[in-house]
């Protein structure tokens, strides 16, 4: 029956009421978004340096959002479920990374010769652990529901996300001596990372050459976050495009039963999707923790929302689409933070999500009428 309904939603005709609802939504968002936007554009033109700085922040945000979005898009591509708990896996990644930073006792004073290999080690451990966590989640909470209705795994995933969020809260109580007090005194409060990435302005020299009008701040950590994220994304892309396992994943995404008939172990392939997604989320957790300097147990919800929106925006199930979507959402949320106000950003991102789902559910890079849309 599932295939039948998928077919009709693709082939179904356009009915006037769809347009009525679309017009309604346009009016709704014009009131909320466009009216303030006019003022925003004026502000942007008035101060291009600030705009440039926001674009840089947006770029780094986009990089980590794309990393998390991979998890949504890989999983959706293969099992067609929204892994609602994915944002929380990222949060756990950040907490784990923080704990490791504490255990290895890395501080601002640690020399780079020790800091860099340590951080790389932390990256690997974090990615490994979140990958395993994600695989375990699939095994325990979703696998049994694979043939149930679409809502059952989604509800289970919401449950898992609450469990993980609570785990993050309780994590704040951990205060082993080996952690060197990294968790602070208040369990619930945001935790701070020591600033381990270089924060000096690389473009200082430009200001010296071109004068005060060319004053853009680009810190070393901006570059590091983008470089690490992009290399992970490229590695993932190559893995999926070039390797045999990656081919098995793509085949399973196309047609699970046919893949099974061709001798592909579908369970293993699905686990692999969760594994890769979890690893990317863990990396994002470490990078964001180091970049923003904080981690809090509620951070998963917002990040998950943005990344899911990014995945849908790019065309869910589409790897390149998730990267593009991540970039766009990163930029949009950075601009919204600056020019609207941070408290509206979630509403803006949700508004975008609603608009895409209503107008172009296949996303930017998805194919019209494609199976996944």
């Amino acid at each position: 029956m599932a295939t039948q309904s998928a077919r009709t939603s693709a082939g179904q005709r356009t009915i006037p009421w769809v347009w009525i609802s679309r017009i309604g939504i346009v009016i709704f968002f014009v009131l909320f978004l466009l009216v303030p936007l006019i003022g925003v554009v004026q502000e942007m033109i008035a101060n291009p340096q600030l705009l440039a700085r926001q674009l840089i922040i947006g770029l780094t945000n986009g990089a980590y959002i794309a990393l998390i979005a991979m998890g949504y898009t890989l999983v959706y591509g293969i099992v067609e479920m929204i892994n609602f708990a994915h944002g929380e896996v990222y949060m756990i990644g950040a907490f784990l990374a923080l704990t490791l930073v504490g255990i290895f006792d890395l501080t601002e004073k640690t020399p780079y010769s020790i800091r860099v290999p340590m951080l790389l080690l932390i990256l690997v451990i974090t990615m490994f652990c979140t990958a395993m966590l994600n695989v375990a989640i699939e095994r325990l909470a979703y696998r049994r529901l694979r043939n149930a209705s679409k809502l059952a795994p989604l509800i289970s995933a919401i449950g898992v996300s609450f469990v993980l969020q609570n785990a993050g809260l309780l994590w704040g109580y951990l205060r082993f001596p080996a952690m060197h007090g990294i968790m602070g005194n208040n369990a619930v409060a945001p935790k701070s990372f020591p600033s381990l990435l270089p924060n000096d302005n690389i473009l200082e020299g430009l200001t010296a050459v071109f004068g005060e009008n060319f004053k853009i701040r680009l810190a070393g950590k901006d570059l590091i976050v983008v470089i690490v994220s992009v290399s992970l994304l490229i590695a993932l892309y190559l893995f999926i495009q070039r390797t045999k396992l990656g081919k098995a994943m793509r085949a399973t995404a196309q047609d699970r039963s046919a893949a099974e008939l061709m001798g592909i172990d579908v369970n293993r392939t699905i686990s692999l999707a969760f594994l890769l997604g979890g690893a990317m989320a863990g990396a994002a957790g470490l990078l964001v923790g180091l970049y923003n300097g904080t981690a809090v147990f509620t951070m998963g919800f917002t990040a998950g929302l943005r990344s899911f929106t990014a995945a849908v925006l790019g065309g869910i199930g589409n790897i390149a689409g998730a990267m593009l979507g991540g970039l766009l959402i990163g930029l949009i949320s950075a601009l919204s933070d600056q020019y609207l106000s941070a408290k509206w950003t979630n509403a803006v991102v949700f508004g975008i999500l609603v608009i895409i789902l209503v107008f172009r559910p296949m996303g930017l890079l998805g194919e019209e009428g494609g199976q996944k849309a």
């Binding site: 039948q4 009709t8 693709a10 082939g11 179904q12 005709r13």
Partner: protein, 273 residues
């Protein structure tokens, strides 16, 4: 007799794929007709277009003098076309009786206020609906004891019958049956064929069926239309169609008509009408 359904130049394309290609088609009121063709010939797509699930890319359907393409599925049902599905689509967790009651939906009037306050008019309507549902279950031969069972707990043959009862509950003038005997044994097939004929004879409902079982097709239809690759390749009385070389070719592949011997679908060439 006047045609009850006329299809004019129906085309349906999915992306680059043409599923149904310029089909003209007429259905006489009170007749039993069949739509046959190899798998993927576009038969179910054709049904789905009649019932409003798909919109034809071009062409039009005229039902009882009224243009029906562009109507939404429930409006088509209200206009008087009932259907069953190839892979049974009952409301699995509802009882057999409730399934038939749902079929009466467009023929009942109760709105929100009526449902909440339940005045006499509503109670009478509901009682009549239940009576009608029971009658229909009797009519298709489902035993009374089973009418409270969940649809999904019914035996396969009963599920097929229940689907027909549910379609009849919409008070159709035209009934579309999508492979009603699929998966049935010869005895069940025979009973169902009789039921289909009874529906036409006693209720004066025009019937169009998609069917793979040539015995059923040849035995019951007054007209057979053959689709292949979305195009109509033959039409006429059952025996005419059965001996049509194009049809045999479509079923058995090129050259088979010349050799004219056994194949996968050999029943097509040896009608038992």
């Amino acid at each position: 007799m006047a045609p009850i359904l006329v299809a004019q130049g129906i085309v349906k394309q999915f992306g680059g794929l043409t599923a149904v290609n310029k089909v003209d088609f007429e259905l006489e009121a009170g007749s039993i007709s069949s739509l046959i063709g190899p798998n993927g010939a576009g038969k179910t797509t054709f049904f789905n277009m009649i019932t409003g699930l798909y919109v034809p890319t071009s062409g039009s359907f005229i039902f009882a003098g009224q243009k029906i393409n562009g109507l939404r599925p429930h409006e088509v049902t209200r206009a008087g076309i009932g259907r069953t599905f190839q892979n049974i689509r009952l409301f699995a967790h509802m009882s057999a009786r409730e399934n038939v009651l749902v079929g009466q939906h467009t023929r009942l009037r109760t709105g929100l206020i009526g449902a909440l306050l339940r005045p006499k008019r509503v109670r009478d309507e509901e009682a009549a609906a239940v009576t009608k549902a029971n009658d229909l279950l009797d009519y298709v031969g489902l035993s009374r004891q089973r009418s409270s069972d969940s649809a999904k707990n019914l035996p396969y043959g009963d599920q097929r019958r229940l689907e027909i009862a549910r379609a009849l509950a919409t008070d159709p003038q035209l009934l579309l049956l999508d492979e009603p005997t699929a998966g049935m044994n010869p005895q069940e097939t025979d009973d169902l064929t009789k039921l289909i004929r009874r529906i036409r004879d006693e209720r004066k409902i025009t019937i169009l069926l998609i069917e793979h079982d040539m015995k059923v097709v040849m035995g019951i239809s007054e007209k057979v239309t053959v689709l292949d690759h979305g195009a109509k390749i033959s039409e006429g009385l059952p025996y005419q169609v059965a001996s049509d070389e194009q049809v045999i070719e479509a079923y058995l592949g090129k050259g088979a008509a010349a050799h004219g011997k056994s194949g996968r679908k050999s029943s097509a060439s040896s009608p038992s009408a």
